[in-house]
Structure formats: structure tokens, C-alpha cells
Symmetry: C2
Subunit: 619 residues, 2 copies
Amino acid sequence: MHAGLHTASGQFEARGFPEVSPPASVFPTIFESTSAIPMKASRFFVSTLKEAPADAEVASHRLMMRAGMIKKLGTGIYTYMPMGLRVIRKVEAIVREEMNRAGAVELTMPVVQPAEFWQETGRFDKMGPELLRIKDRHDRDFVVQPTSEEVVTDIARQEIRSYKQLPKNFYQIQTKFRDERRPRFGLMRGREFIMKDAYSFDRDLGAAKASYQVMADAYRRIFDRFGLRYRAVAADSGAIGGDLSEEFQVIAATGEDAIVYCPGSDYAANMEKAEALAPAGPRPAAAKPLEKTPTPGKSTCADVAELLGVPLSTTVKSLVLATDIVDEAGNLKGSQVWLLLLRGDHDMNEIKVGKVPGLDQGFRFATLAEIDDHFGCKPGYLGPLNLKKPVRLVADREVVVMADWITGANEIDFHMTGVNWGRDLPEPELVADLRNVVAGDASPDGKGVLAIERGIEVGHVFVLGTKYSKDMNATYLDEAGKPQFLEMGCYGIGITRLPAAAIEQNHDERGIIWPDALAPFTVVVCPIGMDRSAEVKVAAEALYEQLLVAGVDVLLDDRGERPGAMFADWELIGVPHRVVISDRGLKEGQLEYQHRRDTAATKVPTAGIAEFITGKLAK
Amino acid sequence: MHAGLHTASGQFEARGFPEVSPPASVFPTIFESTSAIPMKASRFFVSTLKEAPADAEVASHRLMMRAGMIKKLGTGIYTYMPMGLRVIRKVEAIVREEMNRAGAVELTMPVVQPAEFWQETGRFDKMGPELLRIKDRHDRDFVVQPTSEEVVTDIARQEIRSYKQLPKNFYQIQTKFRDERRPRFGLMRGREFIMKDAYSFDRDLGAAKASYQVMADAYRRIFDRFGLRYRAVAADSGAIGGDLSEEFQVIAATGEDAIVYCPGSDYAANMEKAEALAPAGPRPAAAKPLEKTPTPGKSTCADVAELLGVPLSTTVKSLVLATDIVDEAGNLKGSQVWLLLLRGDHDMNEIKVGKVPGLDQGFRFATLAEIDDHFGCKPGYLGPLNLKKPVRLVADREVVVMADWITGANEIDFHMTGVNWGRDLPEPELVADLRNVVAGDASPDGKGVLAIERGIEVGHVFVLGTKYSKDMNATYLDEAGKPQFLEMGCYGIGITRLPAAAIEQNHDERGIIWPDALAPFTVVVCPIGMDRSAEVKVAAEALYEQLLVAGVDVLLDDRGERPGAMFADWELIGVPHRVVISDRGLKEGQLEYQHRRDTAATKVPTAGIAEFITGKLAK
């Protein structure tokens, strides 16, 4: 029997695995860190694979699987293995520190949440199958949280009574679940994931904007510390308007998002948001006659331009939309058909279209019946001339300055060429920015032309306004004792997505290349023949302890692997700094240092190795 | 627009809330701690209540609610508010450090787990409504993990190939869910909770026992560091047998569990496990005649003893059990009735009864029909004499040494007195330990007598054997290249239950009294009239920064509350060390220090206050 009454005065000797402990001054005891425990590979868990599973389509997924950082349990559901968890913990630690520094206060909301809160805001019904729903033993509805706006608003309406308590910002780093239709790319689009979500509460929109700015600044510090190339890009903020939404995008050629920036200034926005300015010059004068030109079987702008031997940019495409007309009782009374004209080489931007007056309450693509009714023709040959019934016409800013353009004739196998505003059809009723920008467009800030690159969204800051506080009646009392709705903001960082994004940006054919701040270990000490050579063993352990005491996150690979396999492991895992200790080197008084990005090792005198390495880290 | 390309070389200046940062040497950067950020009450979230909600039945629930540590979201589901989360993080940090020190490796398994793994072990069907089940958008079954034996065994069967990889111990600190029938007592018996669960894998039972011992030792270090009075008590280890299960119980008068210990030795066990030794002396000689005595309406031993004016310990109670007889095809062929005899003042111990040969494959209480068939009487007057049909008789160790005892006559309203073994009925066929021990019983280790106190189970270490590895075919290859089942152990600590248990043990009428290691803040600096007195403000901030730099987890209460309210808050919250700074004190060159357990403050010269406090903590 092993028992008896124990108290704090009991002894602390390390039974089991006695190990060297770093001096207390290096590792404080308040919230003791994972790294306070010496790490030798034999006591850790290193598990690498030669081949990635077939379903791993992107580099980060392949490499995290091969490096033993994650393990698939089900579709979009992964165990964070010891090597991967260390990276996640480093992400969390940086996020937590900067959130605290910015005055946010950490709490932890439940993963399983009663549906009643989600019903208050209507999201329980609106969210669709992405929201994972549960019934408990009493048949009551619950959800697994995908975010926590409802719960944090419930906390705020109970806790925040007076303007004196504002501003307040609560955050959590917690497990989330979204039942994605197509989970893929490992941690990039998983179903279960860890997110940092923060929610600010303010007395008015001005104060909410200030809280937003504090968070936007904290995010810059966070992403700076991660050591990744990223852009903070303006994003559409929906009904709120103004510059109140930014995405933090890690630059990577494999990114899902197109991000727009101006190399000559600090302008950056996502594709949804980036504005296409009206062209600077005036419309050229009409030079060609209006003609109906046969274009048999050519139903796309590209085909027509090729047939006619003209640039695609001289063609105009017709997009037919419709809005429903309902009476006050909500009964459908008919529809209004809209014709949007865009240059043939441009793509429609749905967010922008949704801001056109008249289309801003919702729109849809017109039905074939509606199209036939107004154009007397089927899609492929539609245009603004010779309409059967009038439509509302909206021209893109670029289209309105075109002359002698080409568009559908509303007759199968025919297009109109030499079309000119004013002469052949009236000036457009509405002109708007309807399209995605393209590289080379003028920057909205007038400081050059736009470029486009790919990014992975890993953070988002957003002013929510009073949507949730109104739905849930979350108010505070102002100076006059009058209840006012709380102005909210929300701020997310994809904690488990971040390592995947970092890998997409930083890898080569041998494996991952972590920035120091995110590496599972910053330095790996690789002794060659540690089991055969007492000198190697002594030197390796001495260096390892020296680095440990200096506060370096170092791992000693004491597994006894052969050099080739050992090096391949750490190159795959992506530890940025490696020191090799060999018998031959020691005889020469030298060790070999190599950064993961270096093509060859650097010989460093044994005596100065610790300073050499800490110098590399300090950079 | 706030954008542009940022890199790690970007500047780090603190925008938003500039604050004093402690020197880097105090807070290392590897896994930076929550406490690295200066804590002032105005930037934190302090929210106390005068009254606890009506459903808070126990002290820990009441006090955690009143101190603003937890907030109820639904039945058995709580948000960990900032003040409570700090306590939980301190529990986690100590657990994590000692688990790492003991050679366990941290990973994080999913909260939402595919049912297929739970079907492999049969627990998906066996576990009942306590297991929260989900269907995803594709109607596939999932569970919210209550523990992770299945998932970790799946990891082991994939990852552990050779005996060379053993032993291995994986652990996680992760959200769990059990859909309890009666959630209550706040975090003590919630539905969602945080548990540290560890799982060891070994080559054979001997190695598994060694891994178990490493964990049992680590648990002692963990509970020592928490600063709580606790006992590690032997628990029943089910089919495995031997001393392979211990519970860690925090001593508290309000505990749900009875724990048995010997004040004169280190023997301790839970009630299920604690052995009642056979009495030392021989059976006294028969001194009374056997008589049928009228006991009208007296159907309990207590009533009979009172009627006859004899001690309860001279009576014997009859418990009638039954075992089903089935043929090889599993068809029910009949039943065997058992009569268990216990002293009238003793309680049956089901676990012990379940180990009696013949009862160890399952038993039930006999039906009224079976009782009537064998005893010719209804319960209340049953006994071993004058049976209608033979039964199998098992006597408790204590009963077999009794003489002149009293038991039912198998006739309504009559008992037999002066009953004696050998003379009036044969010596019992089976003698066994069938009862719960009581205070004053001899200790099984022969070193005195047993005492009983109440405890709250907060940890459990357990050898699992090969149950899961056999169900899931988790094997490794031994030296001969032969597959062998992995021997497992599991080790839990209730991370969110621990603070509740700590409070049950450490509170008074004013609030919580945290041990230093668990307190949300170790020291609170309370300035009186900080807004009115520049001297107080300067002295308070100087002391606060001095303690911060010394690595003390200190909070400065700069809210401007009046002294009474401020003191009441911190006494309720339970911060162990308080320093009060007032104008009057400063004029006298003195500050007031008070430990939460002290009845009065101690005056300490201003000059020496920081050393005084760190001295108090060092103790």
C-alpha cells in the first residue's frame, strides 16, 4: 500500500526518471513552462514517415503527417501529436501574451453550449449543417461551438451593468468544431480546430473602433513575432461600412485567397473589398458603325474576340440578374430583371454587386424564362440592344468609358459590333464598380498600380456593431442611467491553422523550415556515435545543458540513429538550428552548425559554440 | 487602410496600452507565461456577488460563483471566468510539469471522436446515456470524449511497433464531457470538465507496474505541490488484482467518499477496498440456550436489539442473494439462492461480495418468490435456521466468531436468540470479508486501528492490463519478433474538480483560502485612497513592480473601491497574502500585511516589505 497523509511539506525528490533540472532562476515557478523539463529525443516522441498518405494534397498536410505532428482520427479530425502540439503551444503562448498586453482578459467558454442562446440570435436555424448539433439525455438541444458570440454576449449582458465597466475585451483559446462539407488539407480546413476568439464590448461605435484598433495593432505584433511574411488586408465589413474589417493573410503561393496590394504604398485588401477605380481618361469618340455581325456558335466573349481578331477587352459581357418584388404581406408579386455589363476580360464581384442600390436587399441570377421574356434570346448572345422588354441596366465603371464595343445581339449566332453609348443606346442609368480588380489596375490610394498574390487567412478583426447585443438585449447603463446596446467587435486567430500556413510559406523538398518562434524545438543537438564515443556523449550533454541553462529550447537527439536518418528526420521536422557533434570534429576542436536554410555546415570552434548559437537566435 | 508587408524584423513597440514589462531574465521567452503581463485589477475582471444562486448546495460551488470564478451556462456546464481560469491554469501547469518530469509526453486528442473506435471496445453501446452521442452532417456517429482509452490505443497500435519503443506514456489536458444524470455541486460534478488523462504502454505486467509506480510517485509530487491535505488510498483494481489502483483523495468533511486510514501507519484505502480482518480472538463458548423469541413488528436488527435491550452487535442480519444458472447455450435453467450473514451493525460491501467464489460472475438480490420458496417467510424475519430449502451460506468473518447471537426465526414476528455455530447450525460453508470496515477495526497492516474520514476523489491511477489492447488488437513485436498485446495503465486528474476540492478543504465564512500554489493571485496590493493620495499611488505601484520583478504573482487593486468592499472582495476570492497601503501607514513608515488565515494584520516597515512578503512565500 502506498498511502498516508501527504502535505506540501513532503519531499520533492525526483523518482522514476532522475534528470538534470535547470536552475530556478531560468524557469520561474508562477506558470511553469513546458520547456522547463529537459528534452531528450529518447524521452520525447519522434515518429516520421517516408510517405505521406494519399489524401494529403497540400505541402503542409503532407509534411505535418510525415513529421509526426498530427495524426488523422477521422475526416477533418486530428490528434495533435507531441511534436505538433509543441508548435501549437508556441502559437498559443505568443497570442496569449499579446492579447494580455493589449488589455484583453482570458476566460474559457464551454465547448458544448445549450441551443437556447443560439436560438436567441437565430443562428441555430440559420447556420445549416456546418453547426454540429447534439441532443443530451433529456433530449435538449446543444451545439458544439464553432464560435462563441452568443455565449460571450450572454456573459456581457449579465456582467456589464455600467459604462464604467467599459471597454471590455474577453478572449479564449479553445476547441471549436465546424462540420465542413469538404474538410481537407489537414489542419488548414479541419472540422475540429483550436481558435483564439476575442470579443470587445464598448459604449459606442467610436469606442468600438478604438478597441478594434488596439486589436489590429496587437495582431500586427503577434504576426511579427511569428516571423512569417503576411499582409493585413482590408476586408468587407458588411452592413457596418467603413474600414472596420481586416484579414491577416500569410503569403503563400498555395493560398486559397487572392490578395490585392500596391507595391508602392501600404494599400492591401482582399479581392472582395479591393476597389476598381473609374478609369482616368474620357471615353473615346465613336469611330465604327453599329453592325450586326454573324458569330455562329460563339457564345463567349473569348470565342467572339478570337473569331473577330480583336482584343478580349473590346468585348462586353451581359450578366442578367433578378430581384423579387413582394408586397407588404410578403407575397411575391413579380420580379425586376437587371442587366449588368462588364468588360469581357473582367470577373463579376458579388460583394460589390450586392451594394448597388436596388440589388442591396438580395438578388439572384435570372431564370431562363425571365431572360427569354426580356431579351427574346437565350444566354450566350445577350446584350443591351433590341430588348423585348425594358430591364434595369448597370454598367461597370470600365464599360462606361468604352467606345466601339462588342456585345450580344439578342439573336442566336449574332453579336453587335461598333456599339457606342449615347449613339446606339442611352447612357447607362447606373454606373458602379462591379468587378474584381486585376493586376495593373490603378491603386485606390493613387500611389501606383495593384499587384495580386495568394494568401492564407489566419486572422480576422471585425467590428460587429450591435447585431448580437440587440438580438440578445445586452445593454449597459450610460451616464444618464439609460440602457444602451453594447457595441461589439470580434477577433479571431486560427491557432491550429497557423502552423499549416507557416509551412505552406516555409518548406522545401526535404521538409519544413520553421521560423524560430514556431519551431517545435529551436535547436537540435545531433551527436554522431554517442553510444560508441564517451567524448561525443560528454560534449553533447554538456552543450545541451549549456543551451538549456541559457534558456534555449533545445533537444538532444540521443536516440542513436545513424547520421543520415537523424539528419533527414530533423530536416523533415524543420528544426531551424542544428549542431552536429562527431569524434572527428572534436579531435579538430570543432562542431558543425547548420541553419535549416543553409546549403552547407559551418565549422565552429567547440569552445565558442554556445555563444555562437545564442548569437544566431538573437538575430 | 492599415496594411503593408510585415516581417519579423518589424518593430515591437507596444501600442495600445503601454505597460511596464518585467526584465527578460525573469520571464523567459520559450513558452511565455500568463503572468509575464502585469496585472492591475482595472485591466483584469473582478466580479463578486453578495449572494450565491439557490442551486449552489456546497461551499465550493457557492464560493466559486460568488467570487466570479465560474459562470453557469447550462446544467453542469460552466464558463471558466478570468479569476477561475487563473486557478485552473496553475493546476494545469503543476500537473504538466510533473507529468513531463516523469517522462510522459503530451499530445491532444480530439474532443469529438468517431464512434467506430468506441464500437471496437463495445463502450459505444455499454456506456449508456452518460456518453454524449452526436451525428454529423453525413449521419455518422460520433461521441464527445469522456476519456480517451480508445483513441490512444488506436494511436499506440499504429505508432508502437517494437519493444524498443516501450515504455511509453501519453497524456493530454483536455475538455471532456459526461452527460451526468444529476450534475451538481458546480465544478465538482459537472458535465463538461477538464481532465488530465494519461495512458501508459508496456511490454508486460511487470513493466506496467513500474510505469504505474512512476505515475503514483508523480501524483504525490503533484498533490504535495498543490499544498492540499490529501491521501493516496488503495482502491479496488477489479479483475487485475493486486495493489494496482490508487485514488488521490483531498480530505474534506463534505467529501462524497469515505476513506479509511490507520493513524499509526501509512495504510489507507477507500471503503470499497479496505479489508476487515478476521477477529483475533477465538469464538466464545455458547452460554445461552436457543430460543424463539417474540419480536412483533420488529423487522430490523436495530428494532430487535432495542426491544430486547441488547447491543446491536449481538444481532446478525440476513441478506438473501441469488445467482442465475444457465446452460451452455445460455438458457436460464434456474437459480441458486445465497444467504449472507453480517453483524447487525455492519454494512454489506458489494465489491467484496462480488469476490466470493460463486458470486464472482455476477449476483442479484433474491426475488420475493425465491425468498418465500427457501425461507417460508418474508424479509424482516429471515435467518439460517428452519429453512424450507437449502441455500448456500456465507458468513462474514466477524459473524463466524460470534456466540449467543440473535437472528430471524423465518417466522413473522419472531427471532431466534442464543444462536450458536456448531450447536444450532453447522459451521458455515464459506467465511469471507463481506462488510465495510468501521472506525476502530484493526488495521490490515497490524499497526493499530482504522479511522475513517471524508474525501473528494481528484486523481486515480490504475493498471488496465490488456483489456483495450485486446479489444483493439494493439500489439508490439517482442525480441523474438512475435506480436504481444500492450499492457496499459491509465491515470487521471480532475483539473477543474481540483479547485472545488481545494475550496471544500480551505474556506471560512468570509470566503476561499487558497494555498499559495493554487491562488488566482498570490499577493494582492490594496492601496487605500489611491485616487486621492499621490504618496499611496507611488508606494503601491512601486511595491507592485518590485514584487513583479521578484517573480511574484501579484495583483494591484487600482479599482478605487472603498476599503471594506475591497477587503471583502479579496477575502471572498481567497488571495492568501494581502498588503494594505494607506496614507496614515506611510506617515508611520509602515504597511499592513495579513495572511488570509491571520486574524489581524501585521505592521511591517515600508523599507522591508518586499523581502518580508517573499519570505512569507518562500516558506
